[in-house]
């Protein structure tokens, strides 16, 4: 069974570093933005309603905690 034995871990770590470096080069930010632009275009094409719905709710939900804690802070200021 020796011939089927998998490679040793130390070799794996070296390989991981090497592959990681090469793959990272390929996975450039430019490619990310190209794919992102295309994915969003596809999103819009596939389901406009969900895309807009998600965008609007996400913007609102991102801001609500600040407004919420601001008004609770004001309420506390009035009490104390």
């Amino acid at each position: 069974m020796r011939y089927l034995k998998v490679k040793q871990l130390s070799e794996g770590v070296e390989m991981a570093k090497k592959v990681s470096k090469n793959k990272r080069k390929k996975n450039s930010l430019k490619l990310l933005f190209i794919n992102l632009k295309r994915s969003l275009g596809l999103y819009w094409k596939i389901d406009k309603r969900s895309f807009l719905g998600l965008l609007i709710t996400i913007i609102s939900l991102a801001l609500i905690p600040f407004i919420y804690s601001y008004f609770w802070g004001q309420a506390l200021n009035l009490i104390v």
């Binding site: 998998v6 991981a16 090497k18 992102l36 994915s39 999103y43 969900s50 709710t57 609102s60 601001y70």
Partner: protein, 542 residues
């Protein structure tokens, strides 16, 4: 009293507003969840339909390219969830970006000096996160091979066909040991990485907490200093803003890293979706009628497979007249199946031309051309449908029970189908309830019935009886000559007994026709290749 009333009124208004906001927030989360799930369905449907459709429309020759096959494998592993994930990561990155920018705005207004302190305190945890993700990703890639080996070996243990052999050969434990080693090898480095990362996170978390506590203490001091005008409310507001900033920054980075990792998958997916066919169909292609079989000519055809140097055909010429029954025989690798691939224009010839009714096949409308063709490939499809649909799928525009029955009889399938519990309504697959699994020979007869049902002008049979016994084979070929009268039949075989009734037999060797004629004519050639091979094979039956 009036002052207290004013405070109470303000307080009631503030609480009412906060309550209203809480309700709105809950409502928005529900809507958000609805749209997120809806978009998962939409993406899933789009990809689940479009990716297989795209793959099915790609040139057949591409499937023989290992690089392209690898691309398909990679895309197949995640097209149902990765694109949605990618888009979702972006939207949540956007969410966190808004939160980070809003917190920065608030902190800049309140105490600009705190912002660099918070940012600096977050740096160690960012570094740990980026490094962990980078290494984790690297391990995943470097060990991808090990992971695939695990997948292939574990499939042997899960697959019905392979389990039989495993049991008889007594290699179950051997394979279990193998997948255990492979799996542990894959996991060991990940566990090692997890251990070191968590230790580093402990240190970075400590730095972050120390900065937060320091800022909180500084704010408390301001609360205690009555002259500062900094109330308890301000303390809670800014404290929660700092909390939002740190958590959003962390999540922003995490989502960005995930998006970055999925990016390679997306690149592969788009590469597949953008694949252009090399065999181009011309807009003004000539349509072929299906009243009579067309004349087929291979004129000085030379063919070399892409990325190969070996000539499969070298100046190969052959004419098939309408209604002729011809057979191509030869040893494995002689070029018989390539002949079919060229005839169906799965590949374009390297040199020379293929003429259909005198027109180059490159100028022929393939849709109308294929309407003239019925084919039984060596690796025919085994549809997991009812017997009836398995046959009728040969010509979906013609729902004809009578033709189905006669095709089934001609292929010698009717006998065993009548023995099925549900006859022609019998489901063919053990994977579904009430389904059965036909034997190899039965599948071949059903596929042959499908080719007959097409009732096409040209019938191409590539090793049509390889899984059928000699008696069955004899009966089938007798039927073929009756059914295919006035139609063209092309039989590809390495079994010489299957072709003896053909009008003309071509013996192919090394991409060239070395002998041709009827069975009788070929048997008369002294030291002929056909004669030798026929007698050699016949010897095996004696």
């Amino acid at each position: 009293m009036g002052g207290n009333d004013g405070v109470r009124d303000n307080l009631i208004s503030l609480i009412a507003f906060a309550f209203f906001l809480a309700v709105v927030e809950d409502f928005l989360w529900r809507i958000n969840e609805y749209f997120e799930r809806r978009s998962w369905f939409s993406w899933n449907e789009y990809m689940s339909i479009n990716v297989p459709t795209k793959i099915a429309s790609i040139d057949i020759q591409k499937f023989e390219d290992p690089k392209f096959n690898n691309l398909i494998n990679k895309v197949e592993q995640g097209y149902d969830h990765k694109p949605t994930e990618f888009a979702s990561y972006f939207l949540w990155t956007f969410f966190q970006l808004i939160q980070v920018l809003s917190s920065i705005g608030i902190l800049v207004l309140f105490a600009p000096i705190l912002l660099p302190i918070i940012i600096v305190s977050l740096v160690p945890s960012f570094i740990v996160q980026v490094k962990a993700s980078k290494l984790g990703w690297g391990i995943w890639n470097a060990k991808g091979d090990v992971n695939r080996k695990y997948g292939a070996n574990s499939r042997y243990l899960r697959n019905e066909d392979s389990v039989k052999e495993i049991r008889v050969f007594g290699i179950k434990n051997y394979l279990v040991d193998l997948i255990t080693n492979l799996f542990r090898d894959f996991q060991k480095e990940q566990i090692k990485l997890l251990n070191s990362t968590q230790k580093r996170f402990l240190i970075s978390d400590f730095i972050e907490s120390a900065a937060r506590i320091g800022i909180a203490v500084w704010m408390l001091m301001r609360v205690l200093d009555r002259s500062s005008g900094f109330g308890v409310g301000n303390f809670t507001f800014y404290r929660s803003t700092i909390g939002d900033f740190t958590s959003s920054s962390r999540n922003l980075l995490r989502n960005f890293v995930k998006m970055y990792d999925d990016n390679l998958y997306m690149a592969d997916l788009f590469k597949l979706l953008d694949t252009k066919n090399e065999i181009v169909y011309q807009a003004d292609a000539i349509r072929i009628g299906n009243k009579y079989p067309p004349k087929i000519e291979f004129k000085n055809v030379t063919f070399i497979y892409p990325k190969s140097e070996k000539k499969v055909f070298d100046n190969f010429s052959l004419t098939i007249n309408p209604g002729e029954d011809i057979a191509l025989v030869g040893e494995n690798g002689a070029g018989k199946t390539t002949f079919v691939k060229l005839l169906l224009r799965f590949y374009d010839v390297t040199d020379g031309e293929i003429l259909i009714n005198g027109t180059n096949i490159k100028n022929i409308d393939l849709e109308t051309y294929y309407q003239n063709i019925g084919v039984l490939f060596q690796n025919f499809n085994q549809y997991y449908y009812q017997v009836e649909d398995n046959i009728k799928i040969g010509n979906i525009s013609n729902n004809n029970d009578e033709l189905m029955l006669s095709s089934s009889k001609d292929a010698g399938a009717d006998g065993f189908i009548q023995d099925y519990k549900n006859k022609y309504k019998q489901l063919l697959s053990k994977a579904f309830k009430g389904g059965i699994e036909p034997s190899g020979g039965q599948w071949q007869r059903i596929a042959l019935a499908r080719a007959f049902y097409r009732n096409a002008n040209i019938l191409i049979l590539d090793e049509p009886t390889s899984a059928i016994d000699a008696k069955g084979e004899y009966e089938i070929f007798k039927k073929i000559s009756e059914v295919q009268e006035k139609k063209t039949t092309i039989i590809i075989s390495h079994r010489f007994s299957t072709v003896r009734n053909a009008d003309k037999i071509y013996v192919v060797d090394g991409g060239k026709i070395i002998e041709s004629g009827t069975h009788e004519e070929l048997m008369k050639i002294k030291n002929g290749n056909y004669k030798y091979m026929f007698e050699l094979q016949a010897e095996g039956y004696r």
